[in-house]
């Protein structure tokens, strides 16, 4: 979240500088230089808008958090590559992994949707995507109490309509 915000601020700064340079150089030196910085301003503006959108989505995910974990492992279905990730927030509208955002539920039935959730003693396995691509995400959830897991599952059901499949906790309570 912080890295997204920092990048947005950087783009805002770059935009201001490039606009200023376009105006100054246009007035003092040459029209070509002004045009170059004007084009740079347009590109920076586009990047700033994109980053602002990401920042807004990240804010939405953070505001509606269900679970926050310090580490995660992400993999894509039909591909054997697995990627370790930084701090992860699971929320009603998607997942924020470091500066990467995986959104679901933002465009209703027409966009990416959460399909299933499985929780065992160590990991939470989420499947989400649309018709073109399905993503799998493995999280080390770090939860040690059964009540906390049930609480997270209940929140997931309430907020996303997906019932989590909990396994491996029955044996612990029985032993």
């Amino acid at each position: 979240m912080d890295s997204i915000r920092k990048r947005r601020n950087l783009y805002a700064l770059l935009l201001s500088v490039s606009i200023l340079l376009a105006l100054l150089l246009g007035a003092i030196i040459s029209r070509q230089a002004a045009l170059f910085f004007a084009a740079a301003s347009l590109i920076t503006l586009f990047l700033l808008l994109r980053q602002s959108r990401l920042c807004s989505d990240a804010g939405l995910i953070r505001d509606n958090r269900i679970l926050q974990v310090p580490a995660a492992l992400i993999s894509i279905e039909n591909s054997h590559t697995k990627r370790p990730c930084e701090e992860t927030i699971v929320s009603t509208f998607g997942i924020l992994i470091g500066s990467d955002i995986y959104r679901w539920g933002l465009k209703g039935i027409h966009g990416i949707r959460l399909h299933s959730v499985e929780i065992d003693r160590e990991r939470m396995h989420l499947t989400f995507g649309d018709k073109s691509q399905i993503m799998n995400l493995d999280l080390l959830h770090g939860l040690t109490r059964k009540e906390a897991v049930q609480d997270a599952a209940e929140k997931l059901w309430r907020e996303t309509g997906v019932r989590a499949d909990i396994s491996g906790w029955q044996e612990i309570s029985e032993t």
């Binding site: 939405l60 505001d63 209703g108």
Partner: protein, 470 residues
């Protein structure tokens, strides 16, 4: 007993307003009495007429600032009519400069007095009966106007002026007899709740009224001078098609879709301008042109007057709602009038004037369907939200369950939907559910997607259809 009392109050208010409006129509607002007096004194009428319309517009538009209760509405009606009376007396004396000041005063205060009637229309007329009350007010005032016009144009403008003043005086007496009653608590709470959402429908209505009435302004400036030589006929027939259209529209069965008749009205306006372009300037030609044009005016006027009447429940201040709605009409007439004055001053031939008018009609025609749809949808929503709010929780749940979704709603979405149907804004929902406003907006978008609708209005409208289809 109280029913009889309300009935009497309704009649008193209706008669009082009709008399005030008859004064406005016959004298102050492009009235034949004013035209005849200005003609008699050989004064340039355009500046006087424009000043009177601008002052009337200002009175209607600003009345909501100082009329904030039924008591102040009654005071404004009585005081405003009194000031109009005093100002209009100056027309017995040949002092054109004084007439300008008199028109400024009478224009402003007659506008404010008309807007103030919004309080009485809301207080004394039942919600779904306002179309009839509005129709009655327009019919009575136009009948009185015809009587005044006939005498002013065929006998003497001063007799017409005296009759206009008599209308004003009698109107004051009837308004003075109105009982001072406390507004119903229910009405107040409903107004408070819905006031936040009235801006959009009111803006749409004003836009609709403004565009429609540009043609009326053009008509005053283009048709009237062209048929001025038929004084006898014009004096009494002018508003007859208008009154007939009002009577027909007033007595239409509830089942008839009034919005469809708007298209007939539009065709009548087009027919009127085409006839004006093709026909001559004889009696039969006048009958055709006037019947088409004024008949259409009757259809449109009652349509938006009745919508404005229904809207009074959804604003905190009915004088403001009523005044702003009517001011859009006056503004449209003003703009149409200025256009008309411009085209007649440069001496454009009748055919070209008609082409300009037809261009305005075409713009109106393009704008009418989306405007009408939005307006009707929003009003239906208001009506539905009110009904939904009075239902029990189980009835509310049943209504929501009866509508099929493309995908089941989550528990959180059901909570948000319930709040939406209770008429709450996104901010209010966020406060109730302890979530951010952005979260509410995202949930709302998802709900719309699951119901396959594009907006909150459409969602509520679908619920309404479902309920009425049962």
């Amino acid at each position: 007993m109280s029913k009889i009392k309300t009935l009497n109050a309704e009649r008193l208010s209706l008669i009082g307003f009709s008399l005030l409006f008859a004064y406005v129509l016959s004298f102050q607002f492009e009235g034949q009495v004013l035209y005849s007096l200005l003609e008699l004194s050989k004064t340039d009428s355009d500046s006087y007429i424009l000043l009177a319309i601008i002052a009337h517009f200002a009175g209607l538009f600003t009345s909501g600032i100082f009329i904030k209760s039924e008591t102040s509405a009654k005071r404004m009606m009585l005081g405003g009519m009194g000031l109009c009376l005093i100002a209009t007396v100056s027309f017995y004396f040949p002092l054109p400069t004084l007439w300008l000041i008199a028109l400024l005063i009478s224009g402003y205060f007659s506008g404010a007095a008309v807007a103030a009637w919004g309080y009485f229309l809301r207080a004394y007329t039942a919600k779904n009966e306002r179309i009839k009350t509005c129709a009655d007010a327009l019919i009575y005032s136009n009948l009185l106007m015809i009587a005044v016009n006939v005498l002013a144009m065929n006998r003497s403008p001063l007799i017409g002026l005296s009759l206009s003043l008599l209308c004003l005086l009698l109107g004051m007496i009837f308004i003075g007899l109105l009982p001072q009653e406390q507004e119903l608590k229910e009405q107040k709470s409903l107004s408070k709740k819905a006031s936040a959402s009235i801006k959009k429908p009111l803006f749409l209505l004003c836009l609709f009224v403004f565009i429609i009435t540009i043609n009326s302004g053009l008509m005053y400036q283009v048709f009237n001078p062209a048929f001025a030589h038929l004084t006898g006929l014009v004096s009494w027939y002018w508003a007859v098609p208008y009154i007939i259209a009002l009577v027909i529209m007033r007595n239409l069965p509830r089942k008839v879709k009034r919005s469809g008749i708007l298209y007939i009205g539009m065709a009548m306006i087009m027919g009127a301008f085409i006839s004006f372009m093709l026909l001559g300037r004889d009696t039969a030609d006048y009958l055709i042109v006037d019947t088409l044009m004024l008949g259409a005016c009757g259809i449109f006027d009652l349509f938006w007057w009745s919508i404005l009447g229904e809207m009074l429940d959804y604003g905190e201040n009915p004088a403001r709602t009523f005044g702003i709605g009517l001011s859009a009409n006056v503004f449209g007439v003003l703009c149409g009038g200025v256009m008309g004055m411009a085209v007649t001053s440069i001496g454009l031939p009748g055919a070209e004037v008609a082409v300009i008018a037809l261009a305005v009609v075409c713009v109106t025609l393009v704008m009418l369907p989306p405007l009408n749809r939005q307006l009707v949808l929003l009003l239906k929503n208001h009506a539905y939200l009110e009904t939904y709010d009075t239902m029990s929780r189980s009835e509310q749940t049943n209504i929501v369950r009866q509508i099929k979704t493309l995908d089941p709603l989550t528990t959180r979405e059901q909570e948000v939907l319930h709040e939406i149907l209770s008429g709450k804004s996104n901010r209010e929902i966020a406060e109730t559910l302890f979530i951010s406003e952005n979260t509410v907006k995202t949930h709302a978008r998802n709900i719309y997607s699951k119901y396959d609708v594009a907006s909150r209005s459409e969602l509520i409208s679908n619920l309404l259809k479902n309920q009425t289809a049962e």
